[in-house]
């Protein structure tokens, strides 16, 4: 599993944006299918809503883990020492930043079904 790990690595770094990508893909596919097959808006909103909550929860969990890897901010950047600790803290901080971006972007992408009235 990528969550609840002691050691940060490149996979934990790309987990949050991967969640963003899957959420994006889901929203796009759900809209394409529902709008092509009848345009049932309530169903679309519900499925996008559930997917968004799930995605945000995963990113949040990933962010909590990254915050821990970063050492809860006890040590400030640049994390450029040749030590295991600085490598871990750097990855934690970078992942935390990526989490923030992914979180905001998921919310961005989730908005259209709630702002647009129908499938036209």
């Amino acid at each position: 599993m990528m969550l609840w790990r002691d050691k940060a690595n490149l996979w934990t770094l790309i987990l949050p944006p991967t969640v963003w990508a899957l959420h994006f893909l889901f929203c796009y596919v759900a809209t394409a299918v529902i709008c092509a097959k009848g345009g049932y808006m309530a169903g679309l909103r519900l499925s996008v809503g559930i997917a968004t909550v799930l995605a945000l929860a995963l990113i949040l969990a990933s962010g909590v883990q990254a915050h821990r890897h970063w050492g809860f901010g006890s040590d400030m950047p640049p994390h450029d020492q040749a030590t295991d600790e600085d490598r871990q803290r750097f990855l934690g901080l970078a992942t935390l930043l990526v989490c923030a971006l992914s979180f905001v972007s998921v919310i961005f992408v989730a908005l259209p079904p709630f702002l647009v009235a129908d499938c036209r």
Binding site: D80, L97, R120
Partner: protein, 845 residues
């Protein structure tokens, strides 16, 4: 292990030993000269060819642009015909994107990345050479077509139905499709090389938090190529099947849809913009700290920006399709993602500005181009935020506003940083400095010329001038603006000429550039004399992001050969392999030397693509089969060689193995990365299947009786069994049971062939005709794709079997077998998913 910075003291008396080491290294790494010059497989030489060739294509496409601007200078001009004008803009866009912008990233990376990592070479030098030859063959083929009045003329994104109609688009579209498919292979080859290089070939101690930022960008962009290019390859396959065999993927009268091509093209096309942009920004990330004379501020923020942009750029593709009538909600997703990507892009700019503010800036020519780049790019980024809004885009779409926007982003985001990079790295590559005086002339001519040319285009576009028109009547308010644009274009061209002159002029009398002329902190500047072929004299352990600033006497100790790999006792080319996170040394990798084989393989494979363009099927088949044979010979004679001893002294008292297999070997990673790209192409074809389902009320259509259940499902079961036997083979080999290994391989070959045949039999026996309806065609394409994967798998199994009989494949030396098992994981997934989709989905639909 934590590498120590202090090198062991060498006694002063061993100058002679040092000389011996240098002689051996020089002999081993010496570049081929004379008639064998083109057999060179070394990053320094191949990188230079690659850079030169892609820059030549830039100049070529620039001339095409100047012809266009001359045509548009005045209304109702008749310098060129409408048809020739179509060829000009199509080729201009195609060449700039496919033959300049992407390849030059690969070229520059191949040239400088090994030095930056203190690696002697990248792990697969022959693959780099193969990629270069593919690129040059495809490139000359595509670009040369205009001299025969046969260039593609449907725009660089080749929209059907215009481009699928052989009468309207001529042979140019085939040249585009086949020539560029071939170049896409080169791009994926480069991605494999660069990703493995960054992950596995760093200097000892260069941990992931200490890599030069350039490496981060290369890593991200390599990953993007793996997910961006394969959809285009899938699209090219569908497109070419329609043109060559009339399979109706994009023909609405038989169930197809031109919009599918737009999706596949832009799933590639938009990330591609960032594939071009990020490596150039990466050059700025190296240049800015050097001229600010301080470490970059916000290293982690740059990593955020690179990772974030890499991902978000895949959610933008439909913003090129805002006007085709997608549901407004779908437009909203792409609009939202297009706005979101401005966040990481902005972060990078702010990091650069902050670093410059915090440092003591030394102004010089590279900095001049870097600041010019930022100014232009920010402007282009802002119009990007505008056109990311669908309602605005509906007004500006396909007008000169878009032409202006995209040139601001690409020239600001890619071209100017690249020129900055050329000025910056020129002394490192050529050993001489470029002229400061000419540099200032070049910059001001280019910068002013660019803005004079493209700034007015925003207004021309808002006044309604559509892109791609070969002329216009007077009196529409476009006359003066167009004339100004043309003058600007020629001014910019003059700047480019000054720059080219400066690069090419003989500098025989000019003094040699000092070592590290800009006082940079990263390792590429260790290389003092470009005529030494070995890259770096000895590989230092790293303890800083800027070793040349922070590690005392490092250069002297490197030169004295005090660090790793100071020698080539066995007269073999070697480089270090280290682990992904902490760069702990793991292996001494023997890399292959100069050879004509990659070039021969590229020409033969290229021949089959070119023959297919002209429908010379027999010639194409022969050339393709010979090409595959050439690759087999290349692999057999050059890869996974068994070393003469299991381990060797790597220097600094460290004994390292010479052989590693499975996930410890670079070849395994290369296979994994390649297959991720392959899987993406497969996913794109599956996407096509479901796309057609969404646009049809009845899918499969009433007439289609296939492919049934029996053939696909038994194909899935048998292909699965072939995969399971590969696991048995691996286990038998581990246990040293050679007989069982051979038996399992042979049985797996039979099953794989059977599975492939059953896949093809499904649509065949149930009478699906690929020219009748798109359903039939997409099923056929899927089964052919999966069956081909089984066939390639059989080739690999045969290779392992031969290896076992030849004594190359043993319990200890099992690189080939483990890589083939890895391949089969992917091949089995492909076969099983294909079979399940085509057999079961019709029941559900």
């Amino acid at each position: 292990m934590s590498p120590k910075a202090a090198a062991p003291k060498a006694p002063a008396s061993d100058a002679r030993r040092r000389k011996g080491q240098e002689d051996r290294l020089r002999a081993v790494w010496e570049n081929a000269t004379g008639w064998r010059y083109f057999s060179n497989c070394n990053n320094q030489v191949v990188g230079l060819w690659y850079t030169g060739a892609s820059f030549f294509f830039f100049l070529f496409a620039g001339v095409l642009a100047l012809i266009m601007r001359t045509q548009l200078a005045v209304p109702d001009n008749n310098l060129v015909s409408a048809d020739f004008y179509n060829q000009l803009y199509t080729l201009h866009g195609t060449v700039m994107m496919f033959l300049f912008a992407v390849p030059i990233f690969e070229a520059v990376a191949i040239l400088i990345l090994p030095q930056m990592l203190a690696a002697r070479d990248l792990p697969f030098p022959r693959l780099s050479a193969f990629g270069f030859w593919c690129f040059i063959i495809g490139g000359v083929f595509v670009a040369g077509s205009i001299f025969f009045h046969a260039a593609p003329s449907s725009g660089w994104f080749m929209y059907p139905p215009l481009a699928t109609d052989p009468k309207l688009s001529g042979i140019g579209a085939d040249i585009w499709l086949l020539g560029l498919s071939f170049i896409e292979i080169a791009s994926i080859a480069a991605a494999v090389e660069l990703i493995v290089g960054v992950l596995k070939c760093r200097a000892p101690g260069m941990r992931i938090n200490m890599m030069p930022l350039y490496c981060w960008y290369v890593l991200i962009v390599g990953g993007m190529i793996l997910f961006a290019f394969p959809p285009l390859i899938a699209g090219d396959i569908l497109f070419e099947m329609q043109r060559l065999f009339d399979w109706p993927f994009f023909d609405p009268t038989r169930g197809g849809d031109p919009v599918l091509w737009q999706h596949l093209f832009w799933i590639f096309g938009h990330p591609e913009v960032y594939i071009i942009f990020l490596p150039s920004i990466a050059l700025l990330a190296m240049i800015v700290p050097t001229f600010a004379q301080r470490p970059i501020l916000g290293y982690g923020w740059i990593v955020l920006a690179a990772v974030g942009t890499g991902f978000l750029s895949f959610g933008l593709w439909a913003h090129h399709m805002f006007t085709i009538g997608l549901p407004a909600i779908s437009l909203g997703f792409f609009s939202a993602a297009s706005e979101a990507v401005a966040i990481p892009t902005g972060v990078q700019i702010f990091v650069f500005v902050a670093t410059l503010l915090a440092g003591r800036v030394v102004f010089s020519i590279p900095m001049l181009f870097a600041t010019g780049a930022l100014a232009i790019f920010v402007f282009g980024g802002l119009t990007g935020v505008m056109v990311a809004l669908a309602p605005f885009d509906w007004q500006a779409h396909d007008s000169y506003f878009i032409v202006a926007h995209l040139h601001y982003t690409l020239i600001g985001g890619m071209f100017f940083p690249l020129v900055a990079g050329v000025y910056y790295f020129y002394p490192f590559v050529m050993g001489k400095m470029l002229s400061g005086r000419l540099g200032r002339w070049a910059f001001w001519l280019m910068f002013s010329g660019f803005n004079i040319a493209f700034l007015p285009m925003h207004i021309t576009g808002l006044r309604g001038m559509p892109r791609r028109v070969f002329t216009y009547p007077e009196g529409l308010g476009w006359d003066v603006l167009n004339l100004v644009s043309t003058l600007g274009a020629f001014t910019m061209a003059a700047g480019v000429l000054v720059f080219v002159f400066d690069v090419l002029r003989p500098k025989g009398k000019a003094p040699a550039a000092p070592r590290n002329p800009w006082k940079a902190g990263t390792l590429e500047w260790v290389a003092g004399d470009p005529s030494e072929p070995w890259g770096i004299r000895s590989v230092p352990p790293i303890t800083s992001r800027y070793p040349l600033w922070d590690q005392k006497d490092i250069v002297q100790h490197i030169d004295e050969g005090r660090y790793y790999l100071p020698d080539a006792q066995e007269m073999k080319r070697e480089t270090l392999v280290t682990d992904v996170l902490d760069a702990v040394p793991l292996q001494v990798l023997r890399v292959s030397g100069n050879s004509f084989k990659p070039m021969i393989a590229a020409f033969l494979i290229g021949g089959s693509f070119i023959a297919a363009t002209f429908h010379w099927w027999i010639v194409g088949l022969i050339s393709g089969v010979l090409g595959i044979a050439a690759i087999m010979v290349w692999l057999w004679t050059g890869t996974a060689q068994i070393p003469e001893k299991p381990a060797k002294d790597a220097g600094m008292g460290l004994e390292l193995p010479l052989y590693a297999s499975g996930s410890a070997s670079v070849g395994w990673w290369a296979m994994f990365i390649t297959m991720v790209g392959d899987g993406t192409a497969f996913a794109s074809l599956i996407f096509g299947y479901f796309f057609f389902w969404t646009i049809h009320a009845d899918f499969p259509p009433a007439h289609a009786m296939g492919p049934g259940l029996i053939y696909p499902l038994s194909a899935a079961a048998i292909s699965f069994a072939a995969w399971a036997l590969m696991l048995v083979a691996r286990r038998a080999n581990n246990a040293g049971r050679t007989g069982a290994l051979r038996l399992a391989l042979a049985a797996s070959i039979v099953l794989a062939l059977g599975g492939g045949a059953l896949l093809l039999l499904g649509p065949w026996m149930t009478g699906l005709e690929p020219t009748r309806h798109v359903y039939d065609a997409i099923v056929w394409v899927l089964v052919i794709w999966a069956a081909l994967h089984n066939a390639v798998g059989v080739l690999m199994q045969g290779y392992c079997l031969a290896g076992s009989f030849a004594g190359r494949l043993t319990t200890e030396h099992d690189i080939d077998l483990l890589n083939v098992v890895l391949y089969w994981h992917f091949a089995a997934i492909t076969a099983v998913v294909t079979a399940l989709v085509i057999a079961l989905f019709p029941l559900a639909a």
